[in-house]
Symmetry: C2
Subunit: 380 residues, 2 copies
């Protein structure tokens, strides 16, 4: 009994590892900031509730918040209220986007890998075909537009790109974005849409990063305040897209969750209307990234220097499956790290480390992983 598509959803590998965590563990598995959110945003929302209660907003979200989001990002094809649908975190933004955009009887979703497992799982839940296109390990998984274009098939209707990337930390450059966009523009027939997951946008450490919506009109952006403002639990996200798409997405969103928490929307409105609000944690991440890169250099590990996100990936010794490594690390070294296999078979030689813990803990964790890799390389 029950819907077979739900029954077939496997348990989360990330949660399996996290369940082995001890109070003493050095946790480099976390997917959320360790910073605290600023209370001023919450005080504003409290004052709002005192005067207005917490009534429903429009399905698409509070007008002022939609406007503030559209203006903040100011993309050429989508800078108006009508381009924004506020959602329950970027998770619902992505779910509604995939559900609205793709016709299960016809379309295919192309996922640029390594990738957060949610995209493929959401597609499976909707009965939508999905296929991955792997970036090149020899290039440290840099975004490679030619590889992406070469992977486009007849049924490909959309390509999902997470940049800054979870897990790799790579960021798509303006050069590569240009090659991708020009190739898509040259195609005949219905356009292929780009879905740009910008969730780590405020954790970017390079200067030539590309925002696909700047140059390609068939771009759908999903984002939230979860990572930028340490508001993961607030579940405030949005879809930013051309009006013809948003109009349809609002209808799907209306039947999935009706509308987003009014209190959370007021918190978000305060973030967007505070000067520098969205970027209030940027400096902390820059300092932390620099310290982590130093620690990784000293460790002797092969690692991918993070251009964005709050992850760093390290290469395991040849022949060591990442799940074995993650289990050994948590059980014998008291360090939690996420096995690369969680992001697809092509990432099985890697571990994903998050570095939101205090820097001395992160450094100690890196040292223990280096020790594990050294012992394991000798043994094998």
């Amino acid at each position: 009994m029950f819907n077979p598509r739900v029954l077939e959803i496997p348990g989360s590998l990330i949660r399996t590892i996290a369940a082995k965590r001890q109070p003493s563990s050095i946790d480099l598995g976390l997917g959320e900031p360790s910073l605290k959110p600023k209370m001023a945003h919450f005080e504003h929302a409290m004052a709002y509730v005192r005067s207005h209660g917490v009534k429903y907003t429009q399905n698409a979200g509070e007008h002022a918040l939609r406007e503030a989001i559209a203006r903040h990002y100011d993309y050429p094809h989508m800078h108006r209220v009508e381009n924004v649908c506020v959602t329950t975190g970027s998770q619902e933004a992505m779910f509604v986007t995939i559900k609205t955009l793709l016709d299960p009887s016809r379309d295919e979703l192309l996922i640029v890998e390594p990738a957060f497992p949610a995209y493929a799982k959401m597609a499976a839940l909707e009965g939508i075909a999905a296929r991955g296109v792997a970036m090149d390990e020899a290039q440290d998984f840099a975004f490679d537009a030619e590889r992406i274009v070469a992977a486009i098939g007849e049924r490909t209707r959309a390509i999902v790109i997470c940049s800054p990337n979870n897990p790799s930390g790579r960021v798509i450059s303006r050069d590569q974005a240009g090659i991708l966009v020009r190739a898509l523009e040259r195609r005949a027939g219905d356009p292929i849409w780009l879905i740009h997951d910008e969730i780590y946008r405020e954790q970017t450490y390079i200067e030539n990063e590309a925002y696909l919506a700047d140059s390609y009109p068939y771009t759908i952006v999903t984002n939230s305040l979860s990572k930028s403002n340490a508001l993961t639990g607030l579940r405030l996200g949005w879809i930013l897209a051309p009006e013809e798409f948003i109009e349809q997405a609002i209808k799907a969103h209306a039947w999935v969750t009706s509308c987003t928490d009014t209190f959370a929307q007021q918190v978000g409105l305060h973030v967007f209307t505070t000067l520098g609000g969205v970027g209030e944690h940027v400096e902390w991440y820059r300092r932390q990234q620099s310290a982590v890169v130093n620690a990784l250099r000293k460790s002797g590990l092969r690692f991918i220097e993070p251009e964005g996100s709050f992850y760093a990936c390290v290469r395991l010794p040849d022949g060591v499956p990442s799940l074995d490594a993650a289990i050994a690390l948590v059980e014998e070294y008291d360090v939690v790290a996420i096995p690369g296999i969680a992001f697809g078979a092509m990432f099985d030689a890697w571990l994903r480390l998050s570095w939101v813990a205090p820097i001395d803990r992160v450094t100690e964790g890196i040292d223990r992983i280096a020790e594990y890799c050294r012992s394991n390389a000798l043994v094998s």
Copy 2:
């Protein structure tokens, strides 16, 4: 382009009428309380955020909240943490329930009508067959178990019952629930599930009301704090069901919204752990219901006496379509009421009035509707 199932979703009739509202209008169209929520629940959540931030909770929700919900309702087959999945309002609770329970290739959802349009629209969005079974107008749409049982087809996998009912205000009695449950228990083969939408539970004005989960083990309850505590905008709901179902529903919920707002969950925890918290507005609704029934009696209108909810339905003169009536009322009488057609063709002779506005406004609105009906009955 786009998913045809989303393209086919029609606009909301309720919103079409609401859009014609003027600042001067008497609004009997509202689907949410006019009371303010108690700030103590929010102060608790603020204190929580100050110490803990707003991190993700488990997908299924905060352990303490799940436990408080399970204990509060204390249903025989589902009184433990494992029986609860916290959701983004009862809208996501119903969406996830329908998505998890029914196999689109095989199953049919039976909807007891009149009904809130969301159930049929969610089923359509999921490609799930849905069919309505209408209660009898001659009986003022009282829940009639024999009619429901007679409508069960070979593919019927679940029956959705909203009691207290939106729009009719009827409540299923223990006698009728007993007949329904015994008939379902006598059936061979896979069980048919009952989905009980309990959203208006704290607005019940009779003594022999039935809660289906009390007597039938294959019951899934959806509910929220929206109506009971004037927290519509908070989006805090839940699914309460047997563990074998919740286990699967959590997986669907995890990919739809990940988890529910941590702040909202803390508000909810305070409601459930405050003595009388869930029932804090019960007395106000009882007094209001009694005053509204008096006003309706004086008006000379045919109406359905509300056994629950904060709606009252009035009968239009023969041959007047409800949409015409609703448009005439808002344009000529400055009263917003919801046309019965929004709840199915079988309810087209009726208007749904909500009575959450101050009682003198509600009474004035009823008087104007009575005037409209008198003029219209004379004309036709």
